[in-house]
Amino acid sequence: MTNQERILKVVTQVAQKPVPADASESLFESGVLDSFALPDMVTELEKEFGIKVPDSDLNPRKFDSLERIADYIDTHTN
C-alpha cells in the first residue's frame, strides 16, 4: 500500500464517513472530521506509520486534508 492509501484507510476508519475525492478538500469543512475525531485520527496515524506527533505539531491545519496529512507523513517518515 502507498502512504496515500494507508492515510485514506485511517481517515475512513476514524471518520466512518466517505472521504472527499479531492485530496486538497478540507476534512473539517466537508464534515468528515469533527474536533473529537481529529485527536483519534492523529493517534491512529501515529500507530499506522510508527511516528510520534509532538504536541507542538498538534495543529489542525497540519491535518486539514488528505494532501496535508500526506505532506506531514512524508516529512516525518523519510
Partner: protein
C-alpha cells in the same frame, strides 16, 4: 504534609436549559447535548458578582467542616472572569467572609486555576496555616453578547467551588502535583477585556486530548501507580466527550471520571471544585482511596495532583 479538610460549592439559581439556548442560537437542543454532554447550566443574574459566587462557595465549605473562620491563615482565589483588571476578587472575598487582614492572593487563571491553586495551597499551608482555596466564575458575563456565539455560549456556566487545605490533618493527604504551561497557545483560548471569549475549539480539544491523559500518566508513573489503582478522577468539567476521551487515554472506564457537566456546563476554574464538592457529599474519600485531580485550560496550563484518603 498538607491535607484536604472539606469542599464547598455554589451555583446561581437561574437554570438555562438547552431548549432556551437553542431557541436563541437557532439550533437543536439535542445538538448541544450531543457535542458537549451539557443539558443545562446556571447563569448568575446581573446583581451577582464573581465575589458573591466565591463567598457563597466558601461559606458552604466552612459550614461543611465546621471550622471557625478566624483560624484561616491564607485565601487563594482563582478566576478567569473577574470583573476588573485590579484588584482581583481575592481581597474582597476575604473581607466579605470577615477575614480582613488575612493575606488573599489572586490566581487569575481560567479552567486549570483550581488545580494550580490546590497545588499552591498545599505548599503554602505549612507556612500560612489553614488555606481557603476558592474558584469563582461568572462566564455568562463573557458570553451574553448579541448575537451569542454558538461555539462558546452553549458551553459555559456560572458557579463557584471551594476547598479548605490544612497543613496537618484532614480527609485526604495531598501529594505532589505535576504542573505544565505553554504560552505558545495563549491566543487560541482567551478572554480579552470588552470582547467575547475567543476559542479555537479544534486546537483546544486536540491539545487537551493529548495533554490531560499525558500529565495523568506522568503523575501515575512518578508515583508508580497503575491507573486501575485510582478510585476516582476529578477533572475540570470542560466537555463530556473530552472527559470520556481522557478516560480512554488513561485506560480506565469513563465511570471513574466523576462528571456533573450535564447539569452545570463548563464553569471554567470552578468546575473541578464543584465536582469535588458533589463527589465528596456523595461519599468522598475513604481511607487509602487514591484520587487524581486534573485540569487543562487557557494558557495553556495543565496538570494533575494526587490525593490519598486517610
Amino acid at each position: 504534609m498538607a491535607h484536604l479538610r472539606a469542599f464547598g460549592s455554589y451555583a446561581p439559581a437561574r437554570v438555562v436549559d438547552n431548549a432556551e439556548l437553542a431557541a436563541r442560537l437557532e439550533c437543536e437542543a439535542s445538538w448541544i447535548a450531543d457535542i458537549s454532554g451539557i443539558e443545562r447550566r446556571r447563569w448568575a443574574d446581573a446583581s451577582e458578582s464573581v465575589v458573591d459566587l466565591g463567598v457563597s462557595a466558601a461559606n458552604d465549605c466552612l459550614e461543611r467542616c465546621a471550622i471557625a473562620r478566624e483560624k484561616i491563615g491564607l485565601i487563594l482565589v482563582s478566576s478567569g472572569s473577574s470583573e476588573r483588571r485590579f484588584p482581583g476578587p481575592a481581597a474582597e472575598i476575604g473581607a466579605k467572609l470577615g477575614l480582613n487582614g488575612i493575606p488573599a492572593i489572586d490566581v487569575p487563571m481560567a479552567s486549570a486555576g483550581s488545580l494550580f491553586g490546590m497545588a499552591l495551597a498545599s505548599r503554602l499551608a505549612p507556612q500560612f496555616g489553614l488555606t481557603l482555596l476558592i474558584a469563582a466564575e461568572k462566564m455568562s458575563a463573557a458570553i451574553e453578547n448579541v448575537p451569542l456565539d454558538r461555539n462558546t455560549a452553549i458551553l459555559f456556566g456560572d458557579g463557584a467551588g471551594a476547598c479548605l487545605i490544612d497543613p496537618n490533618e484532614g480527609v485526604a493527604r495531598l501529594g505532589g502535583a505535576i504542573l505544565h504551561s505553554d504560552g505558545a497557545f495563549a491566543a487560541n483560548l482567551r478572554l480579552d477585556f470588552a470582547s467575547p471569549i475567543h476559542m479555537d475549539g479544534m486546537v483546544v480539544i486536540l491539545q487537551a486530548s493529548r495533554k490531560l491523559p499525558g500529565v495523568i500518566r506522568e503523575l501515575l508513573d512518578r508515583e508508580q501507580l497503575p491507573a486501575s489503582s485510582i478510585a476516582a478522577f476529578l477533572m475540570h468539567q470542560a466537555n463530556q466527550n473530552l472527559i470520556d476521551r481522557v478516560a480512554k487515554g488513561v485506560g480506565v472506564e469513563p465511570a471513574k471520571f466523576y462528571s456533573n457537566i450535564a447539569r452545570y456546563g463548563n464553569t471554567s476554574s470552578a468546575s473541578m471544585l464543584i465536582a469535588a464538592a458533589e463527589w465528596s457529599a456523595a461519599g468522598g474519600f475513604h481511607a487509602g482511596d487514591r484520587v487524581v485531580f486534573a485540569g487543562f485550560g487557557a494558557g495553556f496550563h495543565w496538570g494533575a495532583l494526587l490525593a490519598t484518603g486517610v
